[in-house]
């Protein structure tokens, strides 16, 4: 079924939702900021230093982080789904998030600087996706879509086991709480510095995706057809995987492992604008940004203590995944 709305309308609506949602999210929290105060502070005419502190040091970085993380995970999920021609995969299901998490945890364990942690996270994610892909390709005679999901789960579990080992070995007063809290997935401790270091990496991953957005459609036809249409699928796949993994690893470094966003958002985007990657990528990324903004705003206002994001996204994502699996749609 073709979408009823025009793509430009969908993109515009989603952008408006993201902007309006960010403004609303900036006002709510333990310290309430009224809209006029917000406007004044944003325009640099704020008179209340407390508002400025809350807004610029705590709330806005966090909002920016939720937008960045949501958009990056949804974008990466869109790429993986198209590339592997499998609507059931995402950064977390392929084990990329766990692998990137392991890399980052190793960085924390070794007390490395943030850039090195990011680098290790990227290497961890890339190694995982390579392993998953190779394992799935060497298994024959089974439903290939499910084999990919299963090998992702297994390799992801292996990375998780290595992580647990790291936790046992790490310093219980300093490193362990850092690793544990961060693994649950949270934006509570995102600092502007971390944000500044992750943003360029996400954009670096995004550039090839934007440039090659039309070619992604051909990759989704499978290697042989892509090749017969004049592409070099092996080379392009490497570019796409590196780009999507870089985006995933960059946000895992600041937010931990947040599941389900990368799986569910591409589906909703596909329902809205169809599978053409030129339209799908911006729609999915805007949806991811809006969704994680919503979830994070709920997470920091729900109770006395912070609710880890991973818990909330799973409550939504789990049922959607089951629905996808059981509805058995033949085409996406």
């Amino acid at each position: 079924m073709r979408p009823k709305l025009k793509t430009s309308t969908v993109i515009m609506l989603l952008s408006m939702i993201v902007v309006a949602g960010s403004l609303i999210a900036a006002t709510v929290g333990p310290y309430t900021i009224e809209l006029p105060q917000l406007a004044a502070a944003l325009l640099g005419q704020g008179s209340d230093p407390t508002v400025d502190t809350v807004l610029f040091n705590v709330r806005l970085p966090r909002i920016a982080a939720s937008l960045l993380v949501g958009a990056a995970l949804a974008g990466a999920g869109t790429v993986y789904q198209g590339l592997f021609r499998n609507p059931l995969v995402s950064p977390d299901i392929l084990g990329v998030s766990a692998g990137a998490g392991l890399g980052a945890a190793a960085g924390i364990f070794l007390s490395l600087p943030i850039l090195a942690i990011q680098g290790l996270s990227f290497i961890g994610g890339l190694t995982t996706v390579a392993l998953v892909y190779l394992v799935a390709r060497s298994v024959r005679g089974h439903e290939p879509g499910l084999v990919l999901v299963l090998s992702g789960v297994v390799i992801g579990a292996l990375a998780g086991a290595c992580l647990s080992l790291l936790k046992i070995l790490s310093d219980p007063y300093d490193q362990l709480p850092a690793i544990t809290f961060w693994l649950l997935g949270s934006l509570a401790n995102v600092t502007p510095q971390e944000l500044l270091s992750a943003t360029p990496a996400v954009f670096a991953g995004l550039v090839p995706l934007v440039l090659l957005r039309w070619r992604m459609n051909l990759m989704a036809l499978g290697d042989e057809e892509a090749a017969s249409l004049g592409l070099s699928p092996a080379r392009l796949r490497l570019v796409f995987i590196c780009a999507a993994t870089l985006m995933t690893a960059a946000v895992v470094t600041i937010a931990g492992v947040i599941g389900w966003v990368g799986l569910v958002m591409p589906h909703i985007a596909r329902l809205l604008v169809g599978p053409n990657f030129q339209r799908l990528l911006p729609a999915a990324m805007l949806l991811g940004a809006a969704y994680l903004l919503l979830v994070d705003t709920v997470a920091r206002n729900l109770g006395q203590a912070e609710t880890p994001l991973g818990i909330l996204t799973a409550f939504v994502g789990g049922p959607v995944f089951l629905w996808l699996l059981t509805s058995g749609r033949r085409a996406w």
Partner: protein, 259 residues
Amino acid sequence: MELSAVNLAFGYGRQRVGKNLDLQLSGGEILCLLGPNGCGKTTLFKTLLGLLPRQAGHIDLDGRDLNEYSRAGIARRMAYVPQAHEGVFAYSVHEMVLMGRNVHQGLFSGPDKADRLRATAALQDLGIADLAKRDYTRLSGGQRQLVLIARALAQDAPLIVMDEPTASLDFGNQARVLAQIVRLAERGLGIVFSTHNPDHAWRYASQVLLLKDGRALACGAPEEALTERRLSEVYGLPVRVEALADHQRVCVARPASRS
């Protein structure tokens, strides 16, 4: 534009599917590949397209060895119509055909207006312009096949390789697709296609290649290559060749009876 293979051996990895195969195709010709299931037709096609590495022999495209071409270089000269598949994502028919324009676009740019018009023209050419906005995944097998042919047309390559283009079509659509193939050849395109129906060879092909277990049993004009004896050998049952009143030949299978 000419495609030729000399003493070709092909297969998957080390496993050999066929060998000692020669063939030649020029613009304006229709080469029909006939052979039973599993005789290596698809493997041969993939080898000719450079999708599978050849095991031995030569493939020459437009005067140069196939290995000297880039993927885009091959795609500019040869288009491929795979067997109709279901597809994973619900691209519109027009988008599917647009993907055939890949080699005419810069790596970083998408389809432009000219590409869209070319895709629409290809759909009109095959009489399926009304399907343009439908989802490819929701079409019947026959419609999908026509869309994949339209995509190959939009690719604007002088040679087209079609893997069983009539396999999933009903009687009427088979005749329509084959008539299209003849029309394309009359415009100067060279076409290789495989089929399970020997009648297609007589009716439409200028050359026929009869394959059995990866070897060419006969190659040449259909009237000479397709004898009762050879057809019977290839398909493993007695085949009778008859001429209709207008001299059009047809063949009829006669399973061994107990009488």
